[in-house]
């Protein structure tokens, strides 16, 4: 019997090596796999390259990983935010490397890695500083920049529900980078609210098929749901972190 279910977040992040390239899902706080990031922090892996849309919010989750100096390099599209003070301080002190990628190129590079595409010509960024030094080409009268696939050793993803094969569904805009990161990493580790019976997820609505998932761990229902029903959140900030 196939089971990708692990009993704890500690077990789920086991084996992540120093120097690993780690994709972390989420857009801001939505879909950020906070429990897995906390477990990675406790696990201790250092010298990491992190791929995320942002560079941490507040002092928890990815920001805490940065604060603990575990991240050597970050590849993202939008590090500077109102609450990105941890990253900002490290960056100004020259203590973290930044590769800035336009968000759509970031998403497409991740998607390319999962899809076995080596590189692609994208119009985004052509003629800008973020395309400097990159190969360009005109195709049917439009100008494109060549961007390469972006692979990772590990992906940490937050989804809503999973079955024991690792089939996943997400919730609203918390889906964001999860499905493409799950496909782009050698080892994909997923936290979900709950594990449901095999067959309980509608095959027409599975977003990430289980073949992309290596480990799943249930972390309990998110604070703004009760038995699957939305009950409101007292505060986005507090509950989402």
């Amino acid at each position: 019997m196939i089971s990708k279910v692990t009993g704890s977040v500690e077990e789920a992040v086991r084996g992540i090596a120093d120097g690993a390239v780690v994709m972390i899902g989420g857009f801001g706080r939505a879909g950020q796999p906070v429990e897995l990031i906390d477990a990675l922090l406790a696990h201790g892996a250092a010298d990491l390259t992190v791929i995320n849309n942002n560079a941490g919010n507040g002092d928890t989750g990815l920001a805490a990983l940065l604060a603990a100096r575990r991240v050597r390099r970050i590849i993202c599209s939008f590090p500077r935010q109102s609450d990105s003070h941890v990253f900002d301080a490290l960056y100004r002190a020259g203590e973290i490397e930044l590769e800035l990628v336009p968000q759509g190129n970031l998403a497409e590079r991740i998607r390319a890695a999962g899809a076995g595409i080596g590189a692609f010509f994208t119009p985004t960024g052509f003629g800008t500083a973020l395309a400097e030094g990159k190969e360009t080409r005109e195709i049917d009268g439009r100008s494109y920049v060549l961007e390469h696939a972006l692979h990772a050793d590990v992906a940490l993803v937050s989804a809503y529900r999973a079955d024991r094969w690792g089939n996943l569904v997400y919730r609203k805009t918390a889906r964001n980078f999860g499905p493409i990161m799950a496909a782009a990493a050698t080892t994909t580790i997923v936290q979900v609210d709950e594990i449901v019976e095999l067959g309980a997820l509608d095959p027409e609505s599975v977003v990430t098929p289980g073949l992309y998932v290596n480990r799943v761990v249930a972390v309990g229902e998110r604070a703004w749901l009760r038995d699957g029903e939305f009950v409101g959140a007292a505060s986005v900030e507090g509950d989402a972190s």
Partner: protein, 224 residues
């Protein structure tokens, strides 16, 4: 003499140019105000880059759902007809030319339609680009919403952008607090003057040669 309209008046003016059925992305900041002025009942579909179509307005305080946010990370709602999708699919929509209109802020726009809106290029700034470059090159119509002048009185409409570019030749129309400008193959054309502005005065303010297209109705032109 009045030469400037307010931010909300400008948002309302832009809203008048949005046809029913338009799929639209409103950039972070001032452009989001355009949604406040769309007529009740007009079906316009808002896209947010983080994976949603048919985004609705901010929820009541007790209905905030942390899983339902916009590109500015603010809580939003879901309208009937909505759809969720992942980030690669969301940016495929943008890059593939499937959004009808996007409205973006700007630091500078050149008379050829180059846009600079992501970085001032200041040495000590932390760069952050987000989805700006994808929006700039992807939407069928790229509208810029901006003040004509910076706080220190410099024109944001320029011959050549001095700030780092977001996209090359991508802007179609610029809605400013002084006037509406179209980007044409021969430079900028004034479509509509607000208050007591004249083309001559705007040419002086911007230092640009400006064509007069005020006999064209901007809204009708857009809908055609």
């Amino acid at each position: 003499m009045t030469t400037r309209i307010s931010r909300d008046e400008l948002a309302a003016r832009i809203a008048r140019d949005i046809p029913e059925g338009a799929v639209m992305n409103l950039g972070i900041g001032a452009p989001t105000r355009v949604a406040n002025f769309l007529p009740e009942g007009l079906e316009v579909i808002l896209h947010t880059e983080n994976g949603m179509l048919a985004m609705g307005p901010e929820p009541a305080a007790d209905r905030i759902d942390p899983d339902l946010i916009n590109a500015g990370k603010q809580p939003v709602t879901e309208l009937p007809g909505a759809a969720y999708f992942h980030h690669a699919d969301s940016f495929a929509m943008m890059r593939g030319g499937h959004l009808d209109i996007c409205v973006l802020g700007a630091f500078q726009v050149s008379e050829r339609g180059d846009l600079a809106n992501w970085s001032t290029g200041a040495a000590d700034s932390i760069p952050a680009v987000g989805g700006a470059m994808d929006l700039a090159i992807g939407a069928r119509q790229v509208f810029v919403m901006t003040d004509l002048l910076t706080r220190s009185g410099e024109s944001k409409l320029v011959r050549t952008c001095s700030y780092p570019l977001t996209g090359v030749g991508c802007v179609n129309r610029i809605y400013t607090d002084h006037a509406i400008f179209d980007v044409t193959p021969t430079g900028l054309a004034v479509l509509e003057l607000f208050g007591d502005n004249t083309i001559t005065e705007l040419a002086t303010l911007t230092g640009l040669v400006l064509d007069d297209a005020t006999s064209t109705d901007a809204t009708d032109k857009e809908l055609a």
